[in-house]
């Protein structure tokens, strides 16, 4: 079963002369375990694509399937449940709740889903430990460094049984070494079977993906070919 499928998705804002086509006939399939990056200039529709894939916004036409379920066939409540259970979001500005500790932030989506607090907290601790943040669990966001905050945000996005990880410029304003740490985590999460979609204008982030899709004026204009083995680079005579 594909983790995410967009079939001929279009999105239009406004009407008549003010009509803006944010997405035009976009089709994309992301399998479990794959990491796809969406690259494009500002206004190319990449963030719209992510919010539609995450059911935060409706498509004007076309179908969106998450973990095999067509979003259009779900009620509002069912969609909210799908978002809480199956989809993890990572945003540029981390969006952690300042009044909650790292562990409480991570446990929040599970608790909202009706899982008892004790069980949710245990799952949260497990993910935080996996991300090397076990000793930061009781800290509030303003007591953490930028890199730690983003790791907490990733922990929150992958806690529980998520199928799809959606990230919009996930390295935010982090320096390049911390940004690399974020992408290593995203990639490790995907290798664990989660499907990942990262929206970015940064080629260094995009280069962590298995496939890079280029968006332009709301359309998929191009995508990268499957990767050859790394040996091809090391035999090109870089000693010249």
């Amino acid at each position: 079963m594909t983790a995410l499928e967009l079939r001929h998705v279009s999105k239009t804002y406004g009407e008549g002369a003010a009509e803006v086509h944010a997405l035009r006939d976009v089709s994309l399939t992301v399998e479990p375990g794959a990491l796809v990056a969406i690259m494009g200039p500002s206004g190319s529709g990449k963030s719209t694509m992510l919010t539609i894939a995450g059911s935060l916004e409706d498509a004007s036409s076309g179908d969106v399937l998450v973990a095999g379920q067509a979003l259009a066939t779900l009620s509002r409540n069912e969609r909210a449940r799908l978002r809480r259970r199956s989809i993890g979001f990572v945003f540029q500005n981390f969006n952690l709740l300042a009044g909650l500790t790292a562990a409480e932030n991570v446990a929040l989506p599970l608790e909202l889903d009706g899982i008892p607090a004790r069980v949710a907290r245990k799952s949260a601790m497990k993910v935080l430990e996996e991300l090397g943040l076990g000793d930061r669990a009781a800290r509030f966001p303003d007591e953490l460094s930028g890199g730690e905050r983003q790791r907490v945000a990733i922990a929150r996005a992958v806690v529980g049984e998520r199928r799809l990880l959606l990230a919009d410029e996930p390295s935010g304003a982090l320096d390049s070494v911390n940004a690399e740490g974020v992408m290593r985590l995203v990639r490790a999460t995907c290798q664990g079977g989660v499907a990942g979609v990262v929206v970015t204008h940064d080629a260094q982030l995009a280069s962590w993906a298995d496939r890079v899709v280029f968006l332009r004026d709301g359309r998929i204009s191009d995508q990268t070919a499957p990767l050859p083995g790394p040996e091809s680079l090391l035999t090109q005579g870089h000693s010249q």
Binding site: A203, S207, D222, T224, A225, L227, P230, L234, T235, H238
Partner: protein, 192 residues
């Protein structure tokens, strides 16, 4: 890559023989710069001729003949480390030339030309990133060497992105074929 200076750097740690120098060179550069053994010997001969290294009297055959750095070699190495590479004169950049030419050829979709190069560069970056990902986490040389490639390729992609946006906004590129395009002047003093 300056092979002579890399060999001087390795010899600054103590005497070494040819085969050992080649192995250490590749290990230190994260195996990103493969070096053939012939290159090592010819470079050592040149360094010896210039008085920057000398035979230490050990080893008979060429593979095991030992070398040590001389005082002049130490001075040369220290000076080289602090000499900035020539980044002042703009290189004759083939990609820049292709884009400038594409602008003037009727019927060419410049944005399509830009995308072909962008895709190629992103694919190269994916390959380098995979090498970094697969490398040992504590392999500092590999991470540094791969980062240098990634930043270099990234800067070319950024230029393509900015060219794309600039060309789209430029009034001259929005008129039909045959219209005059802006004259492209060579910056004064640039070496071409």
């Amino acid at each position: 890559m300056s092979v002579p200076h890399a060999l001087l750097a390795l010899l600054s740690e103590g005497p070494k023989y040819g085969l050992q120098l080649r192995e250490e060179f590749e290990a230190r550069t994260g195996e990103v710069w493969p070096l053939n053994v012939g290159q090592v010997y010819t470079t050592l001969q040149r360094l010896e001729r210039d008085g920057l290294v000398e035979a230490d009297g050990t080893g008979e055959d060429s593979q095991h003949k030992g070398f040590r750095i001389t005082a002049a070699g130490d001075e040369e190495l220290a000076a080289w480390l602090r000499t900035p590479p020539d980044l002042a004169s703009p290189p004759r950049d083939e990609l820049v030339i292709k884009v400038l030419v594409a602008l003037r050829v009727p019927g060419v979709d410049v944005s399509d030309v830009l995308q072909v190069h962008r895709r190629y560069l992103v694919q190269l970056m994916q390959q380098w990133t995979r090498i970094k990902e697969d490398g040992a986490e504590d392999d500092l040389s590999l991470a540094l060497a791969v980062d240098a490639e990634l930043f270099r390729l990234d800067s070319v992609i950024r230029w393509l992105d900015s060219a794309d946006s600039r060309i789209r906004r430029h009034p001259m590129t929005q008129v039909k074929d045959g219209a005059a395009l802006p004259k492209l002047r060579r910056p004064t003093g640039a070496r071409r």
